[in-house]
Subunit: 152 residues, 2 copies
DNA sequence: TCCTTACTGCAAATCATTTGCAATAGTATA
DNA sequence: TATACTATTGCAAATGATTTGCAGTAAGGA
């Protein structure tokens, strides 16, 4: 099952957060946020930068990074590394509930899915056996997607 | 459950592979392999480099990287990125059967564990729903380990 | 409208990793 | 055992992603 982004308003959420902490909602930030929401999947900082540049040619890559790190710190996005040999961070707006990822080794497409029950079984077992607390779960499958499989 | 390394002889395996492909078993390679086996957990290239340097002060970091990438290509080790904000690759000798990882967010210790059945349920479900083939699974839990939890 | 200071663009720094190249050293062969 | 071939190494420089210092710019409250 491929999840879609449901929450329409990251910008609004951010505006609220900024109020509380001497922050300012600038044009650059608004643009970055809108771009992050509009891009499908899990864009890299560069993906966002290139898109934003079409509209605002002066906006700098470091501004993009600064915003993304702030969002990360605020818990509004999640940073993911999907595979060794892919060195750019990918930024995942937390717009859907918890989900996991499948990365096709050939065409590199990322498919989101969720498997709540077996995953919670893993977590519960681990917590019980280790007296630990699990705060979050990163589950990434690698393999061949339907299309690449059929071209084998 | 914390798994330990059971297979005693990575060096021997590598020597065999090298025969088949015009490769040479050099002193540097032997050292790197022994170090990789002797270091606990999932060392970074730098961890290995620093340890090797104690014995062979001229051995270069790029030699370490070259060997690690070769091992990766040969499927003898696995490269992992355990968390965003930890930029160094970590190298995991494939000495035990498939296992997963828990990273403590406070003390950074990595606990290995396996959960064969719920994990295979996830894989089987995904393959069925997507007509895909899963080749490998990366499962990383983040949270607080027993010790850090008790110091809360 | 003015002031304060958060935010930005830019260039330079950083950090992990990779690469080009000339020198070195395994190993197969004579 | 010496020789030749070429894989491997050390070194230094390149790369690529991300971060940072700083001086100028611009939110947004007074």
């Amino acid at each position: 099952m491929i999840c879609s982004k449901e929450d329409p308003n990251l910008t609004e959420k951010v505006t609220q957060r900024l109020q509380g902490q001497k922050g300012r909602m600038t044009g650059q930030r608004r643009l970055i946020l809108e771009t992050l929401e509009s891009l499908p999947g899990h864009p890299t900082a560069e993906d966002i930068f290139l898109r934003v540049r079409e509209v605002a040619p002066h906006l700098n890559l470091s501004t993009v990074y600064r915003m993304l790190r702030w969002l990360q710190k605020e818990g509004l996005i999640t940073v993911r590394v999907f595979s060794e040999n892919e060195r750019q961070d990918r930024f995942d707006p937390n717009l859907t509930t918890e989900h996991f990822h499948f990365v096709c080794q050939r065409c590199k497409q990322i498919i989101e899915f969720d498997e709540p029950s077996p995953a919670s079984a893993i977590i519960a077992d681990f917590e019980k056996n280790n007296s630990a607390r699990v705060e979050n779960v990163g589950l990434v499958l690698h393999g061949l997607c339907r299309d690449c499989l059929s071209q084998e």
